[in-house]
């Protein structure tokens, strides 16, 4: 999923907020269109789509609990007629097994993700504050430049950046390389989004605080950050998912080093080297999915807002 289009960014306010403000129970344009297609057919199509979107995941989930020998012998759908023996052995093997040991990769993913979310949030909020509320020469030009950087695909920066990590900073194959990279790639969108939210805060509020003698630092930390919590949460969740699910950045900067590489890199590698070991791949895939799915279920509202705000980064 970098750089989203700037326009996609406009969606959370324009589109997502509205239904809550004006949800009316009765008729709608969509309802009319749906009724035009006779109801049973409409329902059937909806059910088919829902099934196509659910069955693949369900199949792999069931597979992850079947015995290795059963997985090879019959399709996962046979559990409905002949349940056989279900087991957690695949997860145990995937997490701790000598050759795979996804456990340590899970730790790596967590260790990579937390700073890679917090750091851009802090830096982008600071920069957004300056762009929104401070006066300095070249402010507008710089803001437009940052805005424009959103369209730069991160592929364009990867190789020279790797070169900088290897030869200049000596951070090759360390967490630092991905922490810094994810921060850099997140900044244009984060600054733009947070700036928009900052601008919505009434000017009088800030001026009053300034007149009372509060400096920028105090206004920022004590007044603005608390007010911006929903915006920061939305972007934070988006960035969290992006980093947690990222393959390319980690592959480039950490690919060859199991000690620091995240789950995605390892699972993708397993898919290549042990493509038929479905007992491992199924459990591995779900180990990598459990945290983002839990976040999705727990924070669905923020989550949707964050994803829509971010559009498709990449």
């Amino acid at each position: 999923m970098s750089t989203s289009t700037p326009q996609a960014v406009a969606t959370p306010d324009d589109v997502v907020e509205q239904p809550r403000r004006q949800r009316r129970p009765r008729k709608s344009a969509a309802g009319n269109a749906a009724r035009a297609v006779t109801s049973p057919w409409a329902s059937l199509v909806a059910v088919i789509i829902a099934a196509l979107w659910t069955v693949p995941t369900l199949g792999l989930l069931i597979t992850s609990f079947r015995r290795q020998i059963d997985i090879q012998r019959s399709g996962w759908w046979t559990v409905f007629t002949d349940p056989g023996e279900l087991t957690l052995a695949n997860y145990k093997e995937a997490l701790t097994g000598g050759s795979t040991g996804l456990g340590q990769f899970f730790v790596n993913t967590v260790v990579i993700t937390i700073p890679a979310v917090l750091l851009p949030l802090l830096l982008a909020s600071l920069a957004a504050y300056a762009f929104a509320w401070m006066d300095f020469p070249g402010r507008n030009t710089l803001f437009v430049a940052v805005f424009a950087l959103q369209i730069v695909p991160l592929q364009v920066a990867l190789i020279p950046l790797l070169d900088i990590y290897v030869n200049t900073l000596h951070l090759a194959n360390t967490y630092w390389s991905v922490w810094l990279s994810h921060t850099i790639f997140a900044l244009p969108l984060a600054i733009f989004l947070i700036h928009n939210f900052m601008k919505e805060i009434p000017k009088e509020l800030l001026e009053a605080a300034r007149v009372d003698g509060a400096g920028h630092v105090r206004v920022f930390f004590q007044l603005l950050l608390p007010l911006l919590t929903p915006a920061l949460a939305a972007f934070g969740i988006f960035q969290f998912l992006w980093v947690w699910n990222d393959l390319l950045v980690s592959l480039v900067f950490l690919g060859g080093t199991p000690d620091v590489a995240p789950l995605t890199v390892r699972v993708a590698e397993l898919s290549g080297t042990r493509g038929n070991a479905w007992f491992l791949l199924s459990a591995g895939a779900f180990i990598s999915m459990v945290v983002p799915v839990a976040v999705f279920l727990a924070l669905q509202r923020y989550f949707v807002r964050g994803l829509l705000a971010g559009g498709l980064k990449g």
């Binding site: 289009t5 008729k27 802090l122 592929q155 850099i184 390319l248 290549g272 479905w278 999915m289």
Partner: protein
């Protein structure tokens, strides 16, 4: 490194970041007056700009230069890398595949997302039905690829089938099929995965757009005798046009950069490579850094018309 060691490193890093950046702010806050404002502005905006300049702009310029150089990066080859991409059959194939992706994914994902949004609008289980379609957006493309690789799993016809699609083929009395090996159809089966991931995004945005169409417009159209599919074509669709454009272009840009799916499913073999995957392979596997850089630059250049289209279309609607 032990698990504890890793977390210690993380907390040390977080502490270090906090000390450095907050330290800069506190020092800057000691300056006062007009000059103080300037110093403080620099301390707020400086770190982010430094990161962007060193980590994004400078590397991007180096990549553009590298795209005109040989693989060792020590001699200029002019436009040769680009000429190769647009003339060598195996590289032209990469462009063709990318074009197929960028045309099909946005339209299919948007069409399915829109249809689903309309079909479940105001259904009793709407929230649940939406969550089902949206969930694939939450997981990594690597996990999504593994889920689908299992759907496509191939076994010779005589053996018991474990992949859903081949089980269906066998049930219908047909031979099982190598979904990922047989080109050019294999690209379509990879595209299906991206559609599966993106439809939830389209559905969510479009559903919200549909719900925000004012009731009086619907009422007025009804009084004029507009109903059913005509209502959709002449009232609903024009009303959500800006949202549709946002969805199409956003998914289009995401699709242009698709890497994880191709890499996990086929690694770009069997004629399935796309630009982002070829960039990776040329740069890291074949050591063709000039060619890899040229692919990255092409990716960059191809994003621009999509963004421009987006901007122009949305202007028209204002």
């Amino acid at each position: 490194m032990s698990t504890t060691g890793k977390f210690v490193q993380m907390f040390v890093a977080l502490g270090l970041f906090a000390i450095v950046f907050i330290g800069i702010l506190l020092i800057a806050a000691r300056f006062s007056g007009r000059r103080g404002e300037r110093v403080q502005a620099v301390s707020f905006v400086g770190p982010a700009l430094l990161f962007l300049a060193v980590g994004l702009m400078y590397p991007a310029i180096l990549t553009i230069i590298a795209s005109f150089q040989n693989s060792a990066g020590d001699a200029s080859v002019g436009l040769q890398n680009y000429i190769d991409i647009f003339t060598k059959p195996e590289l032209l194939l990469v462009l063709r595949n990318t074009a197929v992706w960028v045309v099909l994914v946005p339209f299919l994902a948007t069409a399915i997302g829109l249809a689903y949004a309309i079909l479940i609008d105001r259904a009793r289980v709407e929230a649940f039905a939406k969550a089902l379609i949206f969930l694939p957006m939450a997981i990594s493309m690597v996990a999504a690829s593994i889920i689908w690789k299992f759907m496509y799993e191939y076994r010779p016809t005589a053996r018991p089938q474990i992949g859903v699609f081949n089980a269906i083929l066998k049930e219908l009395g047909l031979d099982t099929y190598q979904f990922l090996l047989n080109d050019p159809a294999n690209t379509l089966f990879l595209i299906a995965i991206m559609v599966w991931i993106q439809a939830g995004f389209a559905m969510t945005v479009l559903s919200a757009a549909i719900k925000s169409i004012p009731d009086d417009i619907i009422e007025a159209a009804k009084l004029d005798g507009v109903d059913g599919l005509k209502m959709f074509r002449w009232v609903t669709l024009p009303s959500i046009r800006p949202a549709v454009i946002v969805v199409l272009t956003t998914i289009g840009i995401g699709t242009l950069k698709v890497f994880d799916i191709v890499r996990t499913m086929t690694g770009g073999q069997f004629n399935t490579s796309v630009i982002a995957n070829e960039f990776y392979n040329q740069s890291f596997r074949y050591d063709q850094s000039g060619l890899g850089a040229a692919f990255a630059v092409i990716l960059f250049v191809l994003v621009i018309p999509i963004v421009a289209y987006n901007v122009v279309q949305l202007r028209k609607d204002l």
